[in-house]
Symmetry: C2
Subunit: 655 residues, 2 copies
Amino acid sequence: MSYIDNCCINALRVVGAEMITKAKSGHPGIVLGAAPIVHTLFTKHICISSNDEKWFNRDRFVLSAGHGSTLLYMMLHLSGYGITMDDLKNLRQKGAMTPGHPEYGHTPGVEITTGPLGQGIASAVGMAIVENYLSAKFNKPDFNVIDHYTYVLCGDGDLQEGVAQEAMSLAGHLGLNKLIILYDSNDIQLDGEVQQANTENTKMKVEAMGFEYIRVEDGNDVDSLDQAISNAKLSNKPTLIEIKTIIGYGAPNSGESSIHGKPMPVEDVKELRKFLAYNEPEFTFSDDVRKYYEDNVKTRGYNACSEWNHILSTYANKYPEDYQEFQKFIFDDFEIEDLNGIPTWEVGSSESTRKEMGAILDWLSTKLPNIIGGSADLTASTMVKGADGIYGQSNPLGRNIKFGVREHAMAAITNGITLHGGMRGFCSGFFVFSDYLKPAVRLAAIMGLPSLFFFSHDTVCVGEDGPTHQPVEQLTMFRCMPNTNLIRPADSKEMTAAMLLAFSHDNTYPTIVTSSRQALPNLAETDQDKVKFGAYIAFEAKKNADYAFISCGSELNLCIDAAKKLKAQGIDVNVVSMPSMFLFEKQSNEYKNSILPKGQKRMAVEMGTSMPWYKYASYVKGINEYGKSMPIKYIFDEYGFTVDKICNEFLENVR
Amino acid sequence: MSYIDNCCINALRVVGAEMITKAKSGHPGIVLGAAPIVHTLFTKHICISSNDEKWFNRDRFVLSAGHGSTLLYMMLHLSGYGITMDDLKNLRQKGAMTPGHPEYGHTPGVEITTGPLGQGIASAVGMAIVENYLSAKFNKPDFNVIDHYTYVLCGDGDLQEGVAQEAMSLAGHLGLNKLIILYDSNDIQLDGEVQQANTENTKMKVEAMGFEYIRVEDGNDVDSLDQAISNAKLSNKPTLIEIKTIIGYGAPNSGESSIHGKPMPVEDVKELRKFLAYNEPEFTFSDDVRKYYEDNVKTRGYNACSEWNHILSTYANKYPEDYQEFQKFIFDDFEIEDLNGIPTWEVGSSESTRKEMGAILDWLSTKLPNIIGGSADLTASTMVKGADGIYGQSNPLGRNIKFGVREHAMAAITNGITLHGGMRGFCSGFFVFSDYLKPAVRLAAIMGLPSLFFFSHDTVCVGEDGPTHQPVEQLTMFRCMPNTNLIRPADSKEMTAAMLLAFSHDNTYPTIVTSSRQALPNLAETDQDKVKFGAYIAFEAKKNADYAFISCGSELNLCIDAAKKLKAQGIDVNVVSMPSMFLFEKQSNEYKNSILPKGQKRMAVEMGTSMPWYKYASYVKGINEYGKSMPIKYIFDEYGFTVDKICNEFLENVR
């Protein structure tokens, strides 16, 4: 290793330790152990440009081991991302640019919010998919306008997560050779030695999944690290580079789990300095170190970006149509000018909203060539698929991703697709199995990503498949998530609105749309234009009636019929359709009061747990038990979701 | 294959197809493809006794591919479990003994509810752990009182699931050689060819994880199947037997995904009969077939069970103390006679409830030698661990399971431990990562299993680690789950009660207990004896006061202080501690009204999403956004959870 590499790595180790010790909180183990890895990656390989942070062809770096944020912040500091030394000193403090784990949209240069283990690896697969797709679509024999790598730094914990294993299995299958995972393999995890919990043969396992495996015996050996990354770039497979490191290298308790997540005492930082023979003042990167990063990250990246811009302008001249299209992909600049040709269903007809969803999505795919997605082996049931055939090595321009039965990774990959930019990701499954992918939906919500999740079979009306397949509490699960738009449409008009809202530009939240297994009537009372308000009065027995039903999805038609029946008996009950509580809560108080007037007594009706509705209704007809296996024809009666029973329950409990 | 084997398999295929066709719902693909597998397993290997369904040393059979329930029901029918031919004809109908997916506790002989893919494999690992532990504890050189296998039938989809991969990785690590996974490898999944989504090298992958791999080239070859299972039994590792089958074997659309989940038309069943040259009447097992199962499953199992009882009585004579202890394990017959020595904390002292939880659990482990569990690499933080050292090959009597960073499998394994019987499983992690294991908790709730989930760091008070580590919506997520007891204790007295409730006998639901990261005051107002009611009045400013706070966990002490402050201002506000909504909802209306009197105006206070509280309170002070990275000292002010702010918010919005 060169003298300057050594200087840089020592500086990263000491300043990183100082940051954490000052913060009185953080994870020094990975900082000390993996400093040479990020140093080598950033100074010798990664192509990013702090002058143009969002440069489209930049390499993507995913810190899957998000607790190593200190390393990332130092890289961003040294590489010109406007992270100051004060920011570094402010690690993990209130309002800091340098929060405990990397936060997308908060800190410039952070590509993805990480922390929950495994998610970063899985989302990186999504990023690599977009790179692969766009390169197949836009590159020419003489122009590689898309040609970048997705690098991941992960630890032992990351690789133990099922979500990572699912995603790597798919990455290997898809042959995503631009994906390079740097595995900080230090034999220690939070609770002690890795071998107490895991004794896999990593090489064999990842090779079995279609990865190239490269091993670096000494994680302090910059030359070996450099060579390993160079070799990985040449592979026609995704690569995992296992790098043997020592957790907390240089600390008195190096090699022990105690260094993982506890700040070093000041004395130990002194010991570290002594061990490394490091003499710079506290919180100091020497000019040499700064210059090395200036030259080898910032300037190199600036040059690469400039060169790319030059190539792109030449490309624009030679392939003007492709260039136009490419720009539209980059800026997500596809407008749905009008709805001509979008599938519609006549009022009075009957259809499942899953079929409507599938048909509308197919239509949207013709208008939005930058959407890509698929299902976790359930397209035949959810009706959700991408266009242009199955995406894969033999058809890199397919937009239908066969995720396999890998729901969790599917969602994280969808986040990665959306994060990369240039394309928008969607995915689908049975609503009951949304449980499997909830952790990734949460990250989309935290990041404010417009990832799209389409779930079918949204109630116990699944029927014969029984309780394991009958969602009951999932509507509540997503409605209680901050910054998450769950839309549950009642018929084709509402479904059309939901899908258009889902794909609209500038959403700063994920959207979940649920659909029914069973056919539903296409109602005269629904209003496509009002879905965006989250709730509206679908049936008005009387202005500001004393009573109202609130409902959505497959129960709305029952409530309308119930209200009509009660009207015939001289009882005025309005019906509010509330497909999205999230959108409703965003409306003005005036609007909210116009839909849910004060003093009105309301009964909510939904085939799911009652919890979300008590905010709006004094009485809730829900399902607060697990479902039962039986044909759908018995379901409605079993749970009392018939017009007569709803009327009776209203008369007994609300009126 | 012998003539009778052929007769049996043909019968299973035809009757199975007839069942599904009659039901107009179900999955014929696996029934036709895997019939020889279950036939071979049941008639030549599995030791179960329908005379004594819960025979403790029976082999456990886990149908991880739960959609193959038809196969299981036919096995149970032929093996004397009281499943009648009418039950078979009633497949998937309302109230049937034969629901769409196998349901534990509903159908005799069903060991576990399955359907959500991957869960069965993972829970089987838990069963195998108990077998392994108990055999190490109770077997003698001359007596194997515990000596049985855990068999799993799974398909392609199961193995693609992260939860299965996590569990298998742990099973390999633990060397659970009595675990035998029969992999119905038919190259087809719901949406088409497996190779469209997955091209792993299964052999290499499972060997990398420490499994024995055996391949059966022809899934119709009973002799090879028989031999493969025999060989698996001899291995010192867990085994995966990959069995090449043809999905829907014998159906006109065999080998195609269309046969997976759609009933065969009557015409196709006729074709199947022709193909198999099968001439028995509809819904008929010939006497030969019945006799074969009678002899080779029922009688063989009966004899094995009788022999075991004989061995056990000899064992009882020779090792009376071990026998006594063994019986106590089998019947979960450990009583906590008194609470002498249980850790206590003085009123006025301050401690985090996670430390209290850990200390109480350590004490419980000394009283309850049949509890086993651990953490997903977070014992150092959650304080939850099992006793007697790390469970593993070198210490099979350790009761601390190091699950690794495998949260999802951890929960499913905990279910398997509890399902096996003889031991009770618990597990732990950060509350925010409860998301990862929600699907398994759901199965515990559906099955009515008393699995135990202990989560620490239950609010945004996690602090510096930021939004990815700060739970916000998880309390709602579990409270809205049917049949799930979430307890959120406020201090050591409530924590003690919570842990005793969690481990009490006869719970027919899983229990989740959450704990705080930060120290909390041990309150004079809490009442250990009243936690079991779910809610109680902790501070009574005045009987039936016009106002009340409802709260729990780390916010209860704030509410009590706020009520005292308001009392000093002449405003009477009671404080209800509500650690468990689930238990409260089980109380009589009289009790509920005594705690939450009609007409009282209530404000709920909790550092989590507001949704659960609207049922009980007109105003909710919650946190309906994701957290932020900052030291805990700023958190309370940031979110307004201080005594002053609570008082002000009460005065402005409630009074």
